[in-house]
Amino acid sequence: MSIWEFTLFVGAGSALAGFLGALTGLDGGVVITPLLTLALGVDIRYAIGASLVSVIATSSGAAAAYVKEGFSNIRVGMFLEIATTAGALAGAALATRVSTAALATIFGIVLLYSAYLSAWPPRPRPGDDRPDRLATLLKMNGTYPTATGLATYHVRAVPAGFILMFVAGTLSGLLGIGSGAVKVIAMDRAMRMPFKVSTTTSNFMIGVTAAASAGVYLGRGYIDPGLAMPVMLGVFAGSWLGARVLVTAKTQVLRWVFGGVVAVLAMEMIYHGLTGRL
């Protein structure tokens, strides 16, 4: 396979991943690393570097739209970014000390969890109305647009959310993924923020988290321009397109299909990791 063919193949695969990711609300970049390593035999460290770069592209592109609509909570996002960026640095440092087989196994386990979330997403429910002292002190309570006008919500359990975000950041730095799933759990489940606010704020944070580990990865020579180029452009184009058909498409069936594909890839990664074939 020449570089031309390789680039077109990786670009098309990344575009499809970005498209399905945007349609299902699952981090599309999460399938890039298994595709590159399992189908093309790319070393997992190059794959993680390329995937990390695509995460920044999709997050920043999507965040631009959501921020303008007034869904994201910038204060919550900024405060929790202390935890995610610190976690990302720790994860990136850890990545150089962990064997590729272990990386593949951990990746597979996180992927299985993403597949589960993709098929059974947390149900949207109204935010809790009791104010919390720390959240109020940090001016985190906010409003978001609903069908009946602006609705207010109160944020809770800031320390628990902070710890979960550190974990999300570490996974992001270790595996080159957005960790959107863990971030949403932290805000939706622990901090009791409205679902739509959680997902958009999570998206807003992913780019900053990924930038923190990308700096380390670049300095260590994990980011190869020839590989990152088709991945970044493909995922970016695919998710841009996916975000535009989101309104009309029936997504439940797609979620199951995509969740199934991710689960199979996860099992392959774990198998290859445990048998030391990566």
Binding site: S2, I3, W4, F6, T7, L40, G41, V42, D43, R45, Y46, V53, I56, A57, S60, G61, A63, A64, A65, V67, K68, G70, S72, I74, R75, M78, F79, E81, I82, T85, A88, L89, A90, A92, A93, K139, G207, V208, A210, A211, A212, S213, A214, G215, V216, L218, G219, R220, G221, Y222, I223, D224, P225, G226, L227, M229, P230, M232, L233, F236
Partner: protein, 129 residues
């Protein structure tokens, strides 16, 4: 700090941040595409070698090395510059937020944002733990 004009509302700051992200990502995509085309036309017939991890050469790991590569019009250096601009976009967003919170006289969040910015700069400076 002298007061210049009125403080921004959250909404105004969010609009500017939205535009900043959009512009940054677009410029990065254009630079990566341009570098990618040159790369493909120059090296497209060669074989990709990603099976064995070697790590990138020193010039593709640092900002100064990438700039040197771009000035001598090397395709891989140009792609890497685009990727660097992409990584810099969220950093610029955080830097802008410091400024926006300062104009809102929100000391707590100026400090919060400065902490995030320091971690990012530490990382881009090749942070080692």
């Amino acid at each position: 700090m002298p007061r210049t004009g009125s403080a921004w509302t959250d909404e105004q700051a969010e609009q500017i941040i939205g535009n900043l992200l959009r512009i940054g990502v677009s410029i990065a995509a254009v630079v990566v595409s341009l570098g990618g085309l040159i790369y493909l036309f120059r090296h497209g017939a060669a074989l990709p070698q990603y099976q064995v991890f070697r790590g990138e050469p020193a010039d593709l790991r640092t900002v100064s090395g990438i700039v040197t590569d771009v000035l001598s019009f090397r395709a891989r250096g140009l792609i890497q510059l685009g990727l660097l601009l992409l990584i810099a976009t969220p950093v610029a967003r955080v830097a802008f937020s410091v400024f926006a919170f300062a104009r809102q006289r929100d000391r707590t969040y100026v400090v919060v944002t400065l902490i995030v910015l320091s971690i990012l700069i530490f990382s881009l400076a090749g942070g080692r733990l």
